[in-house]
Amino acid sequence: MKRHLTVEDLARDGRFVRVNFEDRMSDPRNLGGPGAYGRDAAEQADDEDRTSRRGLGRMTPEAANAPDAARSLMHGIFVGEIQALEGAGRTCYDFDLGEGPDEVPYALKLDMARQCWDEARHCEISVKLTEWMGTEVGEFSESPFLFQAACNPDALLRLAGVNRALEGLAIDVFNTMRDFGDKSGDPVLEFCEDWMLADEVTHVKMGSDWLRKLTVNDPERRARALEFQSVVDKLFSLGGGRADEEDSPIRLARRFRQMAGFTDDEIDTIAGLSREARQEAEDLVASHRAAAGS
Protein backbone atom coordinates (compact mmCIF):
# COMPACT_ATOMS: atom_id res chain seq x y z
CA MET A 1 0.00 0.00 0.00
CA LYS A 2 1.37 3.37 -0.95
CA ARG A 3 2.03 6.14 1.52
CA HIS A 4 0.69 9.71 1.50
CA LEU A 5 -2.73 9.64 -0.13
CA THR A 6 -4.29 12.55 -1.98
CA VAL A 7 -7.88 13.70 -1.57
CA GLU A 8 -8.79 11.77 -4.71
CA ASP A 9 -7.75 8.55 -2.94
CA LEU A 10 -10.26 8.96 -0.11
CA ALA A 11 -12.85 6.22 -0.64
CA ARG A 12 -16.55 7.00 -0.29
CA ASP A 13 -19.77 5.16 -1.04
CA GLY A 14 -22.26 6.36 -3.66
CA ARG A 15 -24.21 8.66 -1.32
CA PHE A 16 -21.41 11.17 -0.87
CA VAL A 17 -21.25 14.22 -3.11
CA ARG A 18 -17.86 15.88 -3.18
CA VAL A 19 -17.42 19.58 -3.96
CA ASN A 20 -14.30 21.67 -3.94
CA PHE A 21 -13.62 24.34 -1.37
CA GLU A 22 -14.43 27.28 -3.65
CA ASP A 23 -17.84 25.86 -4.58
CA ARG A 24 -18.58 25.10 -0.98
CA MET A 25 -17.72 28.59 0.22
CA SER A 26 -19.61 30.33 -2.55
CA ASP A 27 -22.80 28.30 -2.07
CA PRO A 28 -25.36 30.96 -1.03
CA ARG A 29 -27.07 28.47 1.26
CA ASN A 30 -23.92 28.33 3.38
CA LEU A 31 -23.58 32.09 3.42
CA GLY A 32 -27.02 32.88 4.72
CA GLY A 33 -27.74 34.77 1.56
CA PRO A 34 -30.65 34.37 -0.84
CA GLY A 35 -31.72 30.75 -0.97
CA ALA A 36 -30.23 29.88 2.39
CA TYR A 37 -31.90 26.90 3.96
CA GLY A 38 -35.23 27.74 5.51
CA ARG A 39 -35.02 31.49 5.08
CA ASP A 40 -38.32 33.11 4.32
CA ALA A 41 -38.94 35.60 1.53
CA ALA A 42 -38.61 38.65 3.77
CA GLU A 43 -35.28 37.47 5.10
CA GLN A 44 -34.05 36.72 1.60
CA ALA A 45 -35.11 40.14 0.39
CA ASP A 46 -33.22 41.64 3.31
CA ASP A 47 -30.15 39.72 2.20
CA GLU A 48 -30.24 41.43 -1.14
CA ASP A 49 -29.50 44.69 0.64
CA ARG A 50 -26.65 43.37 2.65
CA THR A 51 -23.11 43.91 1.62
CA SER A 52 -21.88 41.51 4.25
CA ARG A 53 -21.66 37.86 3.22
CA ARG A 54 -22.23 36.89 6.82
CA GLY A 55 -25.94 37.54 6.92
CA LEU A 56 -26.47 34.27 8.73
CA GLY A 57 -24.70 35.39 11.91
CA ARG A 58 -24.66 33.28 15.02
CA MET A 59 -26.92 30.25 14.85
CA THR A 60 -29.83 30.79 17.23
CA PRO A 61 -32.90 28.57 17.72
CA GLU A 62 -35.22 31.52 17.03
CA ALA A 63 -33.94 32.02 13.47
CA ALA A 64 -36.26 30.69 10.80
CA ASN A 65 -33.42 28.86 9.12
CA ALA A 66 -32.02 27.37 12.35
CA PRO A 67 -33.18 23.75 11.84
CA ASP A 68 -31.74 23.52 8.33
CA ALA A 69 -28.58 25.42 9.24
CA ALA A 70 -28.05 23.06 12.18
CA ARG A 71 -28.64 20.02 9.98
CA SER A 72 -26.16 21.36 7.44
CA LEU A 73 -23.57 21.98 10.16
CA MET A 74 -24.17 18.51 11.62
CA HIS A 75 -23.58 16.92 8.24
CA GLY A 76 -20.44 19.00 7.90
CA ILE A 77 -19.28 17.72 11.29
CA PHE A 78 -19.94 14.15 10.20
CA VAL A 79 -17.85 14.38 7.01
CA GLY A 80 -15.20 16.31 8.95
CA GLU A 81 -15.00 13.43 11.42
CA ILE A 82 -14.51 10.96 8.59
CA GLN A 83 -11.61 13.02 7.29
CA ALA A 84 -10.15 13.39 10.79
CA LEU A 85 -10.40 9.59 11.20
CA GLU A 86 -8.65 9.11 7.89
CA GLY A 87 -5.97 11.66 8.78
CA ALA A 88 -5.17 10.02 12.13
CA GLY A 89 -5.17 6.58 10.52
CA ARG A 90 -2.79 7.65 7.79
CA THR A 91 -0.36 9.04 10.36
CA CYS A 92 -0.18 5.53 11.85
CA TYR A 93 0.85 4.21 8.43
CA ASP A 94 2.59 6.94 6.44
CA PHE A 95 5.71 7.34 8.57
CA ASP A 96 8.49 5.06 9.75
CA LEU A 97 9.48 4.98 13.39
CA GLY A 98 12.46 7.08 14.30
CA GLU A 99 13.70 10.53 15.11
CA GLY A 100 14.43 11.80 11.60
CA PRO A 101 12.45 14.53 9.81
CA ASP A 102 10.30 11.98 7.98
CA GLU A 103 9.88 9.72 10.97
CA VAL A 104 7.74 9.71 14.11
CA PRO A 105 8.19 8.23 17.59
CA TYR A 106 6.35 5.06 18.57
CA ALA A 107 4.42 6.90 21.30
CA LEU A 108 3.12 9.40 18.74
CA LYS A 109 1.76 6.56 16.61
CA LEU A 110 0.05 5.15 19.71
CA ASP A 111 -1.59 8.53 20.27
CA MET A 112 -2.73 8.65 16.65
CA ALA A 113 -4.20 5.14 16.97
CA ARG A 114 -6.10 6.31 20.03
CA GLN A 115 -7.29 9.31 18.04
CA CYS A 116 -8.46 6.91 15.33
CA TRP A 117 -10.76 5.19 17.80
CA ASP A 118 -12.03 8.54 19.08
CA GLU A 119 -12.73 9.80 15.56
CA ALA A 120 -14.45 6.53 14.66
CA ARG A 121 -16.73 7.07 17.67
CA HIS A 122 -17.32 10.65 16.56
CA CYS A 123 -18.38 9.36 13.14
CA GLU A 124 -20.80 7.00 14.87
CA ILE A 125 -22.13 9.78 17.11
CA SER A 126 -22.48 12.33 14.35
CA VAL A 127 -24.14 9.98 11.87
CA LYS A 128 -26.69 9.12 14.55
CA LEU A 129 -27.14 12.83 15.29
CA THR A 130 -27.74 13.58 11.61
CA GLU A 131 -30.61 11.09 11.73
CA TRP A 132 -31.80 12.53 15.04
CA MET A 133 -31.87 15.99 13.49
CA GLY A 134 -33.76 14.82 10.42
CA THR A 135 -31.18 14.56 7.68
CA GLU A 136 -29.19 11.73 6.15
CA VAL A 137 -25.79 10.92 4.68
CA GLY A 138 -25.39 12.71 1.35
CA GLU A 139 -28.11 15.33 1.76
CA PHE A 140 -25.35 17.92 1.94
CA SER A 141 -22.09 17.91 0.05
CA GLU A 142 -18.65 17.01 1.33
CA SER A 143 -15.68 19.30 0.88
CA PRO A 144 -12.48 17.37 1.50
CA PHE A 145 -10.56 20.52 2.37
CA LEU A 146 -9.91 19.44 5.96
CA PHE A 147 -7.89 16.43 4.81
CA GLN A 148 -6.40 18.34 1.91
CA ALA A 149 -5.20 21.22 4.04
CA ALA A 150 -4.11 19.35 7.11
CA CYS A 151 -2.56 16.10 5.85
CA ASN A 152 0.90 17.35 4.96
CA PRO A 153 3.58 14.80 3.97
CA ASP A 154 5.87 16.33 6.61
CA ALA A 155 5.06 14.62 9.92
CA LEU A 156 5.44 17.72 12.06
CA LEU A 157 3.43 19.93 9.71
CA ARG A 158 0.73 17.26 9.63
CA LEU A 159 0.66 17.27 13.42
CA ALA A 160 0.29 21.04 13.43
CA GLY A 161 -2.34 20.91 10.67
CA VAL A 162 -4.43 18.03 11.99
CA ASN A 163 -4.04 18.15 15.75
CA ARG A 164 -3.79 21.90 16.26
CA ALA A 165 -5.65 23.52 13.35
CA LEU A 166 -8.27 20.92 12.36
CA GLU A 167 -8.97 19.63 15.85
CA GLY A 168 -8.87 23.21 17.14
CA LEU A 169 -11.64 24.05 14.68
CA ALA A 170 -13.50 20.99 15.97
CA ILE A 171 -13.33 22.43 19.51
CA ASP A 172 -14.91 25.68 18.28
CA VAL A 173 -17.58 23.87 16.26
CA PHE A 174 -18.54 21.43 19.04
CA ASN A 175 -18.70 24.23 21.57
CA THR A 176 -21.02 26.17 19.24
CA MET A 177 -23.19 23.11 18.60
CA ARG A 178 -23.32 22.25 22.30
CA ASP A 179 -24.56 25.78 23.08
CA PHE A 180 -27.10 25.48 20.28
CA GLY A 181 -28.32 22.19 21.79
CA ASP A 182 -28.65 23.88 25.17
CA LYS A 183 -30.50 26.92 23.83
CA SER A 184 -32.78 24.95 21.55
CA GLY A 185 -33.74 22.48 24.29
CA ASP A 186 -32.14 19.45 22.61
CA PRO A 187 -30.49 17.46 25.43
CA VAL A 188 -29.32 14.69 23.07
CA LEU A 189 -27.39 17.14 20.91
CA GLU A 190 -25.94 18.96 23.92
CA PHE A 191 -24.92 15.67 25.61
CA CYS A 192 -23.18 14.25 22.54
CA GLU A 193 -21.39 17.47 21.62
CA ASP A 194 -20.10 17.81 25.17
CA TRP A 195 -18.56 14.31 25.00
CA MET A 196 -16.98 14.96 21.63
CA LEU A 197 -15.67 18.30 22.89
CA ALA A 198 -13.84 16.46 25.70
CA ASP A 199 -12.14 14.20 23.13
CA GLU A 200 -11.14 17.11 20.91
CA VAL A 201 -9.49 18.95 23.79
CA THR A 202 -7.46 15.76 24.33
CA HIS A 203 -6.48 15.61 20.67
CA VAL A 204 -5.39 19.23 20.52
CA LYS A 205 -3.43 18.78 23.72
CA MET A 206 -1.71 15.77 22.13
CA GLY A 207 -0.75 18.01 19.21
CA SER A 208 0.46 20.81 21.49
CA ASP A 209 2.55 18.40 23.59
CA TRP A 210 4.09 16.62 20.59
CA LEU A 211 4.86 19.87 18.83
CA ARG A 212 6.84 21.01 21.87
CA LYS A 213 8.58 17.63 22.34
CA LEU A 214 9.60 17.15 18.72
CA THR A 215 11.01 20.63 18.33
CA VAL A 216 12.57 21.10 21.74
CA ASN A 217 16.02 21.47 20.18
CA ASP A 218 14.94 22.83 16.83
CA PRO A 219 13.27 26.25 17.08
CA GLU A 220 13.48 26.71 13.32
CA ARG A 221 11.43 23.58 12.72
CA ARG A 222 8.92 24.67 15.35
CA ALA A 223 8.58 28.05 13.64
CA ARG A 224 7.92 26.32 10.29
CA ALA A 225 5.23 24.15 11.86
CA LEU A 226 3.54 27.09 13.53
CA GLU A 227 3.65 29.05 10.28
CA PHE A 228 1.97 26.14 8.49
CA GLN A 229 -0.61 25.98 11.26
CA SER A 230 -1.43 29.66 10.86
CA VAL A 231 -1.97 29.18 7.12
CA VAL A 232 -4.34 26.29 7.83
CA ASP A 233 -6.00 28.20 10.67
CA LYS A 234 -6.78 31.07 8.31
CA LEU A 235 -8.26 28.61 5.82
CA PHE A 236 -10.25 26.97 8.62
CA SER A 237 -11.60 30.31 9.78
CA LEU A 238 -14.16 29.71 7.01
CA GLY A 239 -13.99 33.18 5.59
CA GLY A 240 -14.16 34.69 9.06
CA GLY A 241 -17.15 32.56 10.05
CA ARG A 242 -15.11 31.03 12.86
CA ALA A 243 -14.03 34.05 14.89
CA ASP A 244 -13.93 35.76 18.26
CA GLU A 245 -16.82 38.16 17.67
CA GLU A 246 -20.12 37.73 19.48
CA ASP A 247 -22.06 37.36 16.22
CA SER A 248 -19.71 34.78 14.67
CA PRO A 249 -21.50 31.67 13.40
CA ILE A 250 -18.76 29.62 15.07
CA ARG A 251 -17.08 31.32 17.99
CA LEU A 252 -13.51 30.64 19.12
CA ALA A 253 -13.77 28.54 22.27
CA ARG A 254 -11.07 30.28 24.27
CA ARG A 255 -11.42 28.33 27.52
CA PHE A 256 -11.24 24.92 25.86
CA ARG A 257 -8.37 25.99 23.64
CA GLN A 258 -6.45 27.06 26.74
CA MET A 259 -7.09 23.63 28.29
CA ALA A 260 -5.68 22.09 25.12
CA GLY A 261 -2.39 23.95 25.39
CA PHE A 262 -3.01 27.09 23.33
CA THR A 263 -1.57 30.25 24.88
CA ASP A 264 -3.59 33.47 24.97
CA ASP A 265 -1.24 34.93 22.35
CA GLU A 266 -1.85 31.98 20.03
CA ILE A 267 -5.62 32.35 20.40
CA ASP A 268 -5.34 36.09 19.73
CA THR A 269 -3.37 35.31 16.59
CA ILE A 270 -6.11 32.95 15.35
CA ALA A 271 -8.71 35.63 16.12
CA GLY A 272 -6.64 38.11 14.08
CA LEU A 273 -6.41 35.68 11.17
CA SER A 274 -10.18 35.25 11.27
CA ARG A 275 -10.72 39.02 11.17
CA GLU A 276 -8.43 39.21 8.13
CA ALA A 277 -10.29 36.37 6.42
CA ARG A 278 -13.63 38.02 7.20
CA GLN A 279 -12.52 41.31 5.73
CA GLU A 280 -11.18 39.62 2.61
CA ALA A 281 -14.41 37.68 2.16
CA GLU A 282 -16.60 40.75 2.65
CA ASP A 283 -14.50 42.72 0.17
CA LEU A 284 -14.85 39.90 -2.33
CA VAL A 285 -18.63 39.74 -1.96
CA ALA A 286 -18.91 43.51 -2.21
CA SER A 287 -16.87 43.56 -5.40
CA HIS A 288 -18.95 40.73 -6.91
CA ARG A 289 -22.16 42.55 -6.07
CA ALA A 290 -20.83 45.79 -7.46
CA ALA A 291 -19.84 44.02 -10.66
CA ALA A 292 -23.26 42.38 -10.90
CA GLY A 293 -25.00 45.73 -10.41
CA SER A 294 -22.95 47.66 -12.93
Partner: protein, 220 residues
Protein backbone atom coordinates in the same frame (compact mmCIF):
# COMPACT_ATOMS: atom_id res chain seq x y z
CA UNK B 1 -16.37 -13.91 64.74
CA UNK B 2 -13.58 -15.89 62.98
CA UNK B 3 -10.31 -16.20 64.85
CA UNK B 4 -7.81 -14.00 62.94
CA UNK B 5 -4.91 -16.05 64.34
CA UNK B 6 -6.19 -19.36 63.01
CA UNK B 7 -3.72 -20.67 60.35
CA UNK B 8 -4.99 -20.70 56.76
CA UNK B 9 -3.48 -22.23 53.63
CA UNK B 10 -1.61 -19.69 51.41
CA UNK B 11 -3.71 -20.80 48.46
CA UNK B 12 -7.46 -20.99 48.93
CA UNK B 13 -9.03 -24.36 48.10
CA UNK B 14 -10.41 -23.03 44.82
CA UNK B 15 -7.10 -21.51 43.72
CA UNK B 16 -5.48 -24.19 41.53
CA UNK B 17 -2.60 -22.12 40.12
CA UNK B 18 0.70 -23.97 39.76
CA UNK B 19 4.39 -23.05 39.57
CA UNK B 20 5.57 -25.02 36.51
CA UNK B 21 5.37 -23.38 33.10
CA UNK B 22 6.67 -24.12 29.61
CA UNK B 23 8.52 -20.85 29.05
CA UNK B 24 11.73 -19.41 30.46
CA UNK B 25 12.14 -15.69 30.93
CA UNK B 26 14.17 -15.51 27.70
CA UNK B 27 11.65 -17.53 25.67
CA UNK B 28 8.81 -15.37 27.00
CA UNK B 29 10.68 -12.19 26.02
CA UNK B 30 11.30 -13.60 22.52
CA UNK B 31 7.61 -14.39 22.03
CA UNK B 32 6.50 -11.06 23.48
CA UNK B 33 8.84 -9.22 21.08
CA UNK B 34 7.26 -11.06 18.13
CA UNK B 35 3.77 -10.25 19.42
CA UNK B 36 4.67 -6.57 19.65
CA UNK B 37 6.02 -6.57 16.09
CA UNK B 38 2.82 -8.16 14.74
CA UNK B 39 0.52 -5.85 16.73
CA UNK B 40 2.44 -2.81 15.46
CA UNK B 41 2.26 -3.83 11.83
CA UNK B 42 -1.44 -4.59 12.26
CA UNK B 43 -2.45 -1.28 13.83
CA UNK B 44 -0.45 0.62 11.21
CA UNK B 45 -2.13 -1.11 8.29
CA UNK B 46 -5.63 -0.84 9.79
CA UNK B 47 -5.05 2.89 10.27
CA UNK B 48 -3.79 3.18 6.70
CA UNK B 49 -6.75 1.26 5.27
CA UNK B 50 -9.36 3.49 6.91
CA UNK B 51 -9.10 6.00 4.07
CA UNK B 52 -9.13 3.33 1.35
CA UNK B 53 -12.42 1.57 2.11
CA UNK B 54 -15.66 3.16 0.88
CA UNK B 55 -17.92 1.10 3.17
CA UNK B 56 -18.77 3.31 6.16
CA UNK B 57 -19.20 0.47 8.64
CA UNK B 58 -15.84 -1.09 7.69
CA UNK B 59 -14.14 2.31 7.78
CA UNK B 60 -15.32 2.94 11.34
CA UNK B 61 -14.50 -0.64 12.49
CA UNK B 62 -10.96 -0.33 11.14
CA UNK B 63 -10.56 2.90 13.09
CA UNK B 64 -11.75 1.25 16.28
CA UNK B 65 -9.71 -1.93 15.86
CA UNK B 66 -6.60 0.08 14.96
CA UNK B 67 -6.49 1.41 18.51
CA UNK B 68 -6.99 -1.96 20.14
CA UNK B 69 -3.93 -3.42 18.41
CA UNK B 70 -1.90 -0.32 19.20
CA UNK B 71 -2.81 -0.83 22.85
CA UNK B 72 -1.80 -4.51 22.67
CA UNK B 73 1.55 -3.47 21.21
CA UNK B 74 1.98 -1.08 24.12
CA UNK B 75 1.20 -3.85 26.62
CA UNK B 76 3.97 -5.97 25.07
CA UNK B 77 6.30 -2.97 24.83
CA UNK B 78 5.92 -2.42 28.57
CA UNK B 79 6.31 -6.11 29.39
CA UNK B 80 9.69 -6.47 27.67
CA UNK B 81 11.76 -4.55 30.26
CA UNK B 82 10.08 -6.62 32.97
CA UNK B 83 11.53 -9.66 31.22
CA UNK B 84 15.07 -8.29 31.48
CA UNK B 85 15.02 -6.80 27.97
CA UNK B 86 15.98 -3.22 28.69
CA UNK B 87 16.03 -2.24 25.03
CA UNK B 88 12.52 -3.20 23.85
CA UNK B 89 13.39 -2.39 20.22
CA UNK B 90 16.02 -5.16 20.18
CA UNK B 91 13.40 -7.89 20.45
CA UNK B 92 10.63 -6.11 18.50
CA UNK B 93 11.20 -8.35 15.53
CA UNK B 94 9.34 -10.58 13.11
CA UNK B 95 9.66 -14.27 13.94
CA UNK B 96 11.30 -14.95 10.55
CA UNK B 97 11.41 -13.84 6.90
CA UNK B 98 8.16 -15.61 6.12
CA UNK B 99 6.41 -13.45 8.73
CA UNK B 100 7.71 -10.34 6.96
CA UNK B 101 6.46 -11.76 3.66
CA UNK B 102 3.10 -12.48 5.28
CA UNK B 103 2.64 -8.93 6.56
CA UNK B 104 3.63 -7.52 3.16
CA UNK B 105 1.05 -9.73 1.43
CA UNK B 106 -1.57 -8.84 4.02
CA UNK B 107 -0.92 -5.12 3.49
CA UNK B 108 -0.83 -5.28 -0.33
CA UNK B 109 -4.56 -4.86 -1.13
CA UNK B 110 -5.01 -1.15 -1.58
CA UNK B 111 -7.82 -0.15 -3.97
CA UNK B 112 -11.32 0.70 -2.85
CA UNK B 113 -12.58 -2.50 -4.50
CA UNK B 114 -10.39 -4.67 -2.26
CA UNK B 115 -12.29 -4.43 1.01
CA UNK B 116 -13.03 -8.16 0.98
CA UNK B 117 -9.34 -9.04 0.68
CA UNK B 118 -8.43 -6.59 3.44
CA UNK B 119 -10.98 -8.12 5.78
CA UNK B 120 -10.11 -11.71 4.90
CA UNK B 121 -6.41 -11.19 5.54
CA UNK B 122 -6.97 -9.74 8.98
CA UNK B 123 -10.03 -11.59 10.25
CA UNK B 124 -9.77 -14.99 8.61
CA UNK B 125 -6.00 -15.47 8.72
CA UNK B 126 -4.06 -13.19 11.06
CA UNK B 127 -6.45 -12.81 13.98
CA UNK B 128 -7.23 -16.55 14.21
CA UNK B 129 -3.45 -17.14 14.26
CA UNK B 130 -3.05 -14.56 17.01
CA UNK B 131 -5.82 -16.13 19.04
CA UNK B 132 -4.09 -19.51 18.64
CA UNK B 133 -0.64 -18.31 19.69
CA UNK B 134 -1.95 -16.22 22.59
CA UNK B 135 -4.12 -19.09 23.83
CA UNK B 136 -1.25 -21.57 23.68
CA UNK B 137 0.95 -19.14 25.59
CA UNK B 138 -1.75 -18.37 28.13
CA UNK B 139 -2.44 -22.03 28.83
CA UNK B 140 1.19 -23.14 29.08
CA UNK B 141 2.96 -20.45 31.01
CA UNK B 142 3.36 -20.53 34.77
CA UNK B 143 0.18 -19.23 36.33
CA UNK B 144 2.13 -17.89 39.30
CA UNK B 145 5.52 -16.66 38.07
CA UNK B 146 4.22 -15.24 34.77
CA UNK B 147 0.91 -13.77 35.97
CA UNK B 148 1.61 -10.34 34.37
CA UNK B 149 1.93 -11.90 30.89
CA UNK B 150 -1.26 -13.87 31.47
CA UNK B 151 -3.10 -10.68 32.42
CA UNK B 152 -1.99 -8.98 29.20
CA UNK B 153 -2.83 -12.08 27.15
CA UNK B 154 -6.31 -12.12 28.66
CA UNK B 155 -6.88 -8.48 27.77
CA UNK B 156 -5.62 -9.03 24.24
CA UNK B 157 -7.59 -12.24 23.75
CA UNK B 158 -10.79 -10.54 24.85
CA UNK B 159 -10.27 -7.92 22.12
CA UNK B 160 -9.20 -10.48 19.53
CA UNK B 161 -12.38 -12.54 19.97
CA UNK B 162 -14.56 -9.43 19.80
CA UNK B 163 -12.79 -8.12 16.71
CA UNK B 164 -12.71 -11.49 15.00
CA UNK B 165 -16.50 -11.69 15.36
CA UNK B 166 -16.91 -8.13 14.03
CA UNK B 167 -14.63 -8.82 11.08
CA UNK B 168 -16.11 -12.20 10.22
CA UNK B 169 -19.62 -10.75 10.19
CA UNK B 170 -18.49 -7.90 7.94
CA UNK B 171 -16.99 -10.49 5.57
CA UNK B 172 -20.20 -12.52 5.55
CA UNK B 173 -22.20 -9.37 4.83
CA UNK B 174 -19.97 -8.52 1.85
CA UNK B 175 -19.96 -11.97 0.23
CA UNK B 176 -22.89 -12.00 -2.17
CA UNK B 177 -21.90 -14.31 -5.03
CA UNK B 178 -19.88 -17.38 -5.98
CA UNK B 179 -17.23 -15.05 -7.33
CA UNK B 180 -16.99 -13.31 -3.95
CA UNK B 181 -16.65 -16.70 -2.26
CA UNK B 182 -13.77 -17.58 -4.59
CA UNK B 183 -12.08 -14.20 -4.07
CA UNK B 184 -12.21 -14.61 -0.31
CA UNK B 185 -11.03 -18.21 -0.41
CA UNK B 186 -8.20 -17.53 -2.86
CA UNK B 187 -6.84 -14.68 -0.80
CA UNK B 188 -7.16 -16.67 2.40
CA UNK B 189 -5.31 -19.61 0.86
CA UNK B 190 -2.53 -17.38 -0.43
CA UNK B 191 -1.94 -15.82 2.99
CA UNK B 192 -2.43 -19.07 4.88
CA UNK B 193 0.34 -20.72 2.84
CA UNK B 194 2.79 -18.01 3.83
CA UNK B 195 1.69 -18.25 7.46
CA UNK B 196 2.27 -22.01 7.42
CA UNK B 197 5.83 -21.37 6.27
CA UNK B 198 6.22 -18.81 9.07
CA UNK B 199 5.04 -21.37 11.64
CA UNK B 200 2.63 -18.91 13.24
CA UNK B 201 2.96 -15.37 14.52
CA UNK B 202 5.81 -16.32 16.88
CA UNK B 203 7.45 -18.73 14.42
CA UNK B 204 7.57 -22.54 14.69
CA UNK B 205 6.11 -23.61 18.00
CA UNK B 206 3.63 -20.73 18.10
CA UNK B 207 0.99 -23.20 19.25
CA UNK B 208 3.34 -25.95 20.47
CA UNK B 209 3.32 -29.33 18.79
CA UNK B 210 0.82 -32.14 18.85
CA UNK B 211 3.35 -34.71 17.73
CA UNK B 212 4.29 -37.50 20.11
CA UNK B 213 8.08 -37.72 20.61
CA UNK B 214 9.81 -40.97 19.67
CA UNK B 215 11.18 -43.11 22.47
CA UNK B 216 14.72 -42.01 21.57
CA UNK B 217 13.72 -38.32 21.65
CA UNK B 218 11.91 -38.76 24.91
CA UNK B 219 15.04 -40.25 26.52
CA UNK B 220 17.50 -37.88 24.89
Amino acid sequence: MPDPKKPRAPFAPWDRRELPGSFTVEETARRVGHYKWVEMRLFEVLGGWVATVPELDVKMRFGTHCYKHAWHSELWHKRLPELREMNPDRLTLPANDAMVEFMEALTAPEGEDKTLEKLVGVYRVLIPRKIAAYTYHRNNTSTITDAPTIRSLDFALHDEFEDWRDGEMLIQSLIESDEDVRRAADHQAKLESIMVRAGGIAGPGSIGTAEVPTVAEAHA
